[in-house]
Amino acid sequence: MEVFLQQLINGITLGSIYGLIAIGYTMVFGIIGMVNFAHGDVFMVSSFIALIVFLILTSWLGVTSVALALLIVLVVAMIFTSLVNWTIERLAYRPLRGSFRLAPLISAIGMSIFLSNFVQVSQGPRNKSTPPMIQGEFVLFTKNDYAVTLSFKQLIIWGVTAVLLVCFWYLVAKTKLGRAQRACEQDQKMAALVGVDVDRTISMTFVIAAALAAVAGTMYLMYYGVVSFADGFVPGVKAFTAAVLGGIGSLPGAVIGGIIIGLIETMWSSYFSIDYKDVAAFSVLVITLIFMPQGLFGRPDVEKV
């Protein structure tokens, strides 16, 4: 029971990170119908940016308040990552709109290889580890010498994710941009006819996706304290799994899917075998796509001539 509770806490934390990345997949898929394969690597780039900004703040500018530093890191990482994703969309995906269906996917695979190797070449292949940024934890209760804890880091991740989801929900549901986005999702041609700037809306979608990935990247860095150029692929695939599980195109689905994947992963590691935790996540992906391609909250995909 104690172990279960502890894993529940860990799983929700991990799932929040996956959920934030998954929103990027689900939004981009919803609006232009492509699997943005490079999104996992955008996440990885963002955690590198966060690392560098954090180092500038703490070792050069002498910021001592961790909370302030984290807030600045979050904002700066969001801005720079958005710029990266905006440029990627402009250069690698926009020229391919209207091309055959697999072209953007292949371009995205190329972009993913490019990004991870760019980081490897420019920052070196070694793992980058930082000293723990935030320490301390609440001990919820102790039973049979096993303390169930909720660390401050986890609490921050929960809080930040919740706040951002509310902001994000407001953006999509209540603003003009959100309306334009939903319109483009349904019918781009019709949206263009009633005066929606489709190109700009798609660009903004990539910017928002990147901003959320940057939040995930910063949280990941803070939680694990280590990043490497190869860290984009596996979290990327897991987040994609989350998006599919929740029903691709559905935003609450992405978050719930993320939390489910996070829970499956942590529970599997603690009750079965940690070696096969990635196999478990990949199997969930395969099983979902085969037996339930519309996911938990998705619309069924109708095949048309």
Binding site: V45, P104, S107, G110, I113, V279, L285
Partner: protein, 527 residues
């Protein structure tokens, strides 16, 4: 006059503005990752250093590149767009491009040909002056190469449509002929000792990828099923050879077909559940399968010894005669002096034969009903079903046959290396093979072969570029950049030529005469 001048000034002002914006964006993009470097210092702490000059060099390149683009390339493109539309039959841009490319290649090849003519003459002179001492083999190779280059230069320089047709008709036999004599030419050119590198690193390595590309081409290029886990079948072939040869001592010649059968079995097994999926979903599921197989190979230590891999895999024999220095070895049996090069040459011809087998089977299958069904499936799955084609069987045969060739290639790979580990079967490998198929032009055999030569040969050549060290300093390692360039090339080719290098299609079935179908007419339904 003044209006013209002001418009020119306007153009310049706009160009400068664009360049400034580009430079600004490049600055923003590169500032964190190029401008700063995180290093671990002696105390194992992460510290930051700056790389200002490098950052500004890149930003400058981006800015001036954009300026150059808007001042020279953009007006040129605009002028071309304004030109009256070419009537059909005249040159549209790919053909126009091909003509100039052919001309350019022709010039280079003729320069090479000139060098070889000179060398041949020099060798003849040497032979005439001191008969007996003359290197007759050397002369023969030189003459052959001269003829090859002169012929190629002639074809390329003729340019135009006629030249292109000749090239496309001659490419297959000429390429095959060149591949067959390649090891002999290399041995003659650089001698026994130095030729291992050229035959092994260039010849065998490229041919493995040509074969994998052709195998994947069946699945992706012909049947239109995007498979991102192809390397799994390559792994199945490699591990089944390695394990069965080590445990049961079976010979390579029994295990080669068996590896193909096992890989094909896995192809069908994994193909079954994904039948209903299309396009990107299929791609992701195959990726997941590929990763699952790799993770199992890593974690099932009892069987595969995990990360450590399997070493001491028996090498293939020359129909029972091993390649070693013993009395019953290949060299002694045939009365030759022992060198390791015989094995390399044998392996080269083995993979060449396997690659040719793949190409031959593919070409023949395309004419059979099953091949036509593959291509119909690629173009439009719904139409296919309405016509009564059994899509289940069609997809499964594509998966099975594609996987079989990967299994062959895998068992060859294990036999050649003598050592395999899960590191050889990562997702990156799948992506590389897919990149080769896509860049070559899906469905085109020659295109795939050319792409394999460029991509794999290119990355191998990067190992040889020592002169770059002199420019960029001793710590510069060109091989670091190979995957970077690989990814970049994938994006670039997709943006510039989404249909790959050879995008026209030649139909398998035709009325009266065979015509190439231009890429603008080819459009796939669901991918």
């Amino acid at each position: 006059m003044s209006a013209e001048a002001s418009s020119a000034r306007n153009t310049l002002a706009l160009a400068v503005r664009d360049a400034a914006i580009t430079a600004l964006i490049a600055f923003g993009l590169l500032l964190p990752l190029i401008g700063f470097l995180t290093v671990t210092d002696i105390r194992n702490e992460l510290i930051l250093t700056t790389r200002g000059p490098l950052l500004f060099a890149f930003v400058g390149i981006a800015g001036f590149g954009r300026l150059f683009y808007s001042l020279s390339i953009e007006p040129w493109l605009r002028r071309r767009a304004l030109r009256p539309a070419t009537p059909s039959g005249e040159m549209t841009w790919p053909r126009w491009f091909a003509k100039w490319a052919a001309l350019f290649a022709g010039v280079i090849v003729s320069l090479t040909a000139l060098i070889f003519v000179g060398r041949t003459l020099y060798l003849i002179r040497a032979l005439v002056l001191e008969p007996g001492a003359g290197p007759a083999f050397n002369l023969m190779a030189s003459v052959l190469l001269t003829a090859f280059f002169v012929g190629l230069a002639f074809i390329l320089l003729r340019g135009g449509d006629k030249g292109l047709q000749t090239v496309s008709r001659l490419t297959m036999p000429a390429g095959a002929g060149f591949l067959i004599v390649y090891p002999i030419l290399i041995v003659i050119a650089v001698g026994f000792g130095a030729s291992v590198k050229w035959i092994d690193n260039f010849g065998i390595q490229i041919l493995i990828y040509v074969m994998l590309g052709w195998g994947l081409n069946i699945v992706v290029g012909l049947a239109g099923l995007l498979d991102l886990g192809y390397v799994a079948f390559y792994a199945v072939g490699a591990y089944s050879y390695a394990l069965l040869a080590k445990e049961f001592g079976l010979s390579f010649w029994i295990l080669l077909p068996l590896a193909g059968v096992l890989a094909s079995f896995w192809g069908i097994l994994l193909g079954f559940p994904v039948l209903r999926l299309r396009g990107d979903y299929l791609a992701i599921v195959t990726l997941a399968f590929g990763e699952i197989i790799r993770l199992v190979l890593i974690n099932w230590v009892d069987l595969t010894s995990g990360y450590a891999g399997i070493s001491g895999i028996p090498r293939p024999t020359f129909f029972g005669v091993p390649f070693n220095a013993n009395d019953d070895g290949f060299a002694s049996v045939f009365g030759l002096e022992f060198t390791p090069i015989y094995r390399t040459i044998f392996l080269y011809y083995l993979i060449l034969a396997l690659a040719f087998l793949t190409a031959f089977v593919t070409v023949r299958l395309r004419r059979l009903p099953v091949g036509r069904a593959w291509e119909a499936l690629r173009e439009d799955e719904i139409a296919c079903r309405s016509l009564g084609i059994n899509t289940t069987n069609t997809k499964l045969t594509a998966f099975g046959i594609g996987a079989m060739f990967a299994g062959f290639a895998g068992s060859f790979f294990a036999a050649r290396q003598g050592f395999i580990s899960p590191d050889s079967f990562t997702f990156l490998e799948s992506a590389s093979i897919l990149a080769i198929v896509v860049l070559g032009g899906m469905g085109s055999q020659i295109g795939v072969a050319c792409a394999a030569i460029v991509m794999i040969g290119g990355t191998e050549i990067m190992r040889e570029l020592d002169f770059l060290k002199r420019i960029f300093g001793e710590t510069f390692d060109p091989t670091q950049y190979r995957m970077l360039l690989f990814g970049f090339a994938m994006v670039l080719i997709m943006v510039v030529r989404p249909r790959g290098l050879i995008s026209s299609r030649s139909p398998s079935v035709f009325l009266k005469e065979r015509k190439n179908i231009g890429s603008d007419l080819v459009k796939e339904g669901h991918g």
